[in-house]
Symmetry: D2
Subunit: 395 residues, 4 copies
């Protein structure tokens, strides 16, 4: 096996972590827990894992939590942990969207750092209030736009920031899936049920669940800010209450004297043949980049007028930004969980710096409450534009 030294971090004491949501049967809770373990920066010691007391207790037991640290309400957990000498320093919130706001508030106001699943909240008003609370709290707020943790996504962002693509002209983003091609929400599938329920998800269906990821990643990679959008949303499946397909045209803000960049975004839950087909492609005056989650260890790069190149994670041409979030050598693929773990580890760097009263290293990057507000604004703008027959709406 070929290799340089790993990126395993020098030891800081592990951060004491709690979790809200993520009881038995939840998908994303388990993902957060693995992500928190991979780089060994956290100890999960407390949880309000379910709104159902029985399920909360059973889930805590399954995870090996001390029963005294298993709560049946997040508010109770926030209050008690804040008082404990060895109470949690950070909390992961992994509930359906509509709970994010209230749960996050309880921890933030007690100075407990929040690592929250996306989208930030189920509506923009809550998102803005939460931003205010977070900003005033002194605690960190980390949003798990996990795709920003992929090393080759970092590579793409660094290349564009370094000007290797010149002025950016076009950004094409898409996130097609097929799992909601039929009305599975009507068959009791839990994951489908809450994602298609406006009360739990907010006004966006595919836009909120995956479109917001595509938008976030396009902005993260390109370094551009969205100005306005025109959207055409559909609920193709009979009886579905939220959009399951969205076509969106994008106009970005100009950078300096450049002509503003344009883009398109497609997200769909009804596109058979796509599992989680997140893809971002960026084109500038000097070159183009293509990245897709299907093969996340690769980045296609074409300097204009030269052959296309396949930059691999850890391979030749892969730079510092990718390198610092890489664990294994080139040719040994990393995946979704490692990218997710990177968000947790970036958060740990920030938390540890704060504990020492030091500034966070500039290389540390993670999505914040600001990205969360933008994401919810994107969803609401999509819905608003679509209602106005695709008129351009400022974001």
């Amino acid at each position: 096996m070929a290799i340089e030294a790993s990126s395993e971090q020098t030891r800081e004491p592990r951060i004491r972590l709690g979790m809200v949501g993520g009881g038995a049967g939840a998908f994303i809770g388990a993902v957060h827990r693995i992500a928190a373990r991979i780089d060994d920066q956290y100890d999960l010691i407390a949880g309000a894992l379910s709104a159902s007391p029985e399920k909360a207790i059973a889930s805590g037991r399954d995870l090996g939590l001390d029963p005294s640290r298993t709560y049946s309400s997040y508010r109770e957990m926030a209050i008690r942990e804040a008082k404990l000498k060895n109470g949690i320093e950070a909390v992961a919130i992994v509930t359906p969207n509509h709970v994010h706001y209230d749960a996050a508030k309880e921890f933030l106001k007690r100075g407990i750092h929040v690592i929250c699943d996306k989208p930030l909240t189920s509506n923009l008003a809550d998102a803005k209030k939460l931003k205010k609370i977070a900003d005033e709290s002194g605690a960190l707020f980390v949003l798990t736009h996990n795709y920003t943790g992929y090393p080759m996504v970092r590579q793409a962002r660094e290349m564009i920031a370094n000007g290797e693509l010149g002025d950016i002209r076009v950004v094409q983003a898409e996130y097609p899936q097929d799992w909601l091609t039929e009305a599975v929400e009507q068959t009791g599938q839990k994951q489908a049920a809450w994602r298609t329920d406006p009360a739990q998800s907010g006004v966006g269906g595919s836009t909120g669940d995956i479109g917001t990821h595509a938008y976030n990643l396009a902005a993260f990679i390109s370094g551009l800010e969205l100005d306005s959008l025109a959207a055409d949303l559909d609920s193709f499946v009979p009886g579905r209450r939220l959009d399951d397909n969205a076509h969106v045209m994008l106009r970005f803000k100009a950078k300096g004297s450049e002509k503003p960049a344009k883009g398109m975004l497609w997200c769909s839950q009804v596109a058979p043949g796509h599992e989680n087909g997140l893809m971002v492609r960026v084109y500038g005056t000097k070159g183009g980049l293509e990245w897709t989650q299907k093969d996340p260890n690769y980045l296609w790069y074409t300097p204009f007028g030269e052959s296309k190149r396949l930059i691999t994670r850890g391979g030749a041409g892969s730079g510092a930004a990718a390198g610092r979030v890489t664990r294994v050598p080139s040719g040994h693929p990393e995946g979704y969980l490692e990218a997710f773990a990177t968000i947790y580890t970036e958060a740990a760097h920030a938390i540890n710096a704060r504990k020492k009263g030091k500034a966070v290293d500039k290389a540390v990057v993670y999505p914040t409450v600001d990205d969360g507000v933008k994401g919810v604004a994107f969803v609401e703008a999509c819905v608003a534009s679509s209602k106005k027959n695709g008129a351009w709406v400022k974001v």
Copy 2:
């Protein structure tokens, strides 16, 4: 080498063919000539190959034409060939767009079949007039939307027509290129010069040159009719007079009681890393299909709920529509020229049937003047929508 018998056709007498445009240095003229030769259905015997008499003569000599059949004007050629006992039966028109209308008219009105490059004309008024002339002429009008000749494109169309995808919901089409990333039209590059000149190309730049191909192919494959579109066009390169990038949202007409399908189309001449990246993806209630010109012998097919399949030209799962336009066995790739040849051969089938007073076999498929009118209407609708800030425009 593994194989069944080839698709070589039983002999009909070769059709006498003339050509307008396509003198030395022209790209597409040579392509048409190879295409006409591949299946041996034509004899090229006359030409008005250039508007410059000297170049016309030299080009005719290069091609081995009888000097008495080399003309310096297409009008002269139409008049004289129509009178000759062994005059041309069909003419290929391969000039820049703005010449198509007048040249085609001269041949059609003399009963000579026309095989014309796309787009049909440089404006919609001409297109409609030409359609009228063609319809009244008794001669055939074949438009070389050559991508419709790829066997796996035929396969996709057949599968959808057979209902294998169920009701179509989403169509994603794109045709990115990178050759106009810089202002090569200002350096004397002939191909770039006329394509970026409104006087020769019409109102559409990338939309007319390649967007119209993507639109035609999306409609050909999906069997859907476009209802309206919303477009955002840009000329990113300073000084360029026509669009070099277009983002278009599509709404198709409903079929029966189905919810109307939606789509997106992206065409670009400024996307580094793309040569001729034509791709069409179609998603329905029962499955999805993906085809791209980069690897034209493959068609990706996902029946909803099953594994993705790679249907290969001539391989298992490849049906009659692909089979009748296939020349070599599976695993031996066919390409662009063969697809182009198929248009010529389909035209020959139609011409030969007409000569015998027989109906054309239903399996014979080629783009007509109607497709040409639609293509020009598409370009004008894109320009109109973009001028109205992306408002929906009926096509």
Copy 3:
């Protein structure tokens, strides 16, 4: 995000783990530690991390080990931990090859389970002795042929075991790399230095480091047993003392009345363009399978006479064997660390069953000391055959 419930395991008490080797700067030690953490089945509590006492202490501190559990010799660690009430139950051995035998012996004879990096030992005599010791010890011996942990490798194995490929005829295995294209071992690169040193690696270079992986995986997937091989080994880089390229022809033992299967194996450290290009392809009377580590979440399957299918981890057509070692839903890639983690988790299942005096679930699969003996025998047979000018050698 689309999904069913995760495969997170119901809680057993974590297994107390020690580590031999893997101090600062070592690649594979960090990989083992992450692998042990991912599914949360182990607590790393002791280590003899380096033969250098200073480095051992520093590395233990970096990992947060209790200083009293940091040892400067594995023998000392084995003796003391075996006596402690809460001593380690299992040990991971991640040193260069020549240390495996002696270190493993110390733990096995004290009843401590061993999880050992491959190849088993640096020569076949040691391998056989170690097998005897392991068999008599009552402790488990797990060899980290980590590629056997990939879900789609399990899928391939299951399909073949179920007869979906019919009788196996041909197995093509390869593992090309390029990192030793030049004589980096002469520049002080530590990873290269020990891998090209017969004293530390044994008689095999590329054969021992990666050929043995390819061989193990080919056997694991195909379910076949190797009978004999003919090998042509080279050391292309001037001054290199061990093979850096090997071409091997394989003859497998017949199963029942079937004609024996044949195969080829290529491993290389001097093939520019390959990072860790492990690939196994298997062909039988009813179909073919192809898997490559470059895109480990995919398995290509062709039922003879039908279209090729892309089976994805967690997707349609992916069965029970893959499912039980899958953590995240289809379309969210898993990678090398997850596959490695699966070996650790399978080991945990076996250890936990043993602790309870229960039989290990039949679905649990991991490479054992027997696979280790076979691997070393493979390497020695390659070297012996090559010395005899490629004569067939029984394995």
Copy 4:
């Protein structure tokens, strides 16, 4: 459509061509005819298309041949055409292998150029005699190892000849197919019947039909000469009389003081999932190249220590050798028929030069009778080695 001028050739009078074999139902005859037409360098005017007089006449009529130029024996054709003022100048021989020798002889000795399908003959003795006849005849002998006509194969050959890969160390060639996975020769399939019949094919099955292509291409690209080989051949399908799978280790002759290169070759007709999976990979001290017929317009190139590059036909990085055999611009795929046409056009260049008494341009490249002798020698060496249990055999 983007483009530079095409490679259409300046006009020479078309070469008068005859054909032996290739009557109705034959695959390869139709391929040769299309190939001869694509670049318009030949007129097919005579044929001995079948050994059956009725079929010969019917096939000639189908192809539009003058009945007086349709022969029922190639000998008769050779004798008469040689005397005609406008008799054929060249003949294409497209029969089963065992006819090649005698048919070619008849034309060569009358000074008619021969374009012959591979393998050259069904045994080495004939091959050597035919070489002598060809050398003494003054006529050209062109062997249609058609894969040497692919532009990216030419590109690979040029890069290696230019030293861009440094000293070559390893060559991996393969040509797997699946069409003989079952005993179709026993069902009357004509293509299978003669290919598995020693009387018509010679001693090699897969080795003669496709292994010889892989060997030829590996030598063509690498510029290396084979010294010896060790082979393990199988006939997996019960009742099959010739090999349907071959594993071969290769040793090339040293060039200067370099260490001799090594290689492997695998050909198979029983590998489900492969249609015509010809692939050649070459690795040297400075870089690696990979080419596969599945996607023939691409060449993967890795300069050691840099990112892998995708060189496309006609794109950046594609040089003169590829450019002169390219017809359409990058991004518009060419295929098998165009590669085949290139052999015909190269032959036309050579024939035309000879007619003018001029030397052939050095850039013109085509396989000759020498390549044919080497190919038959390769097949006989494979069979001989396999009979000696895989001992090394000089070629």
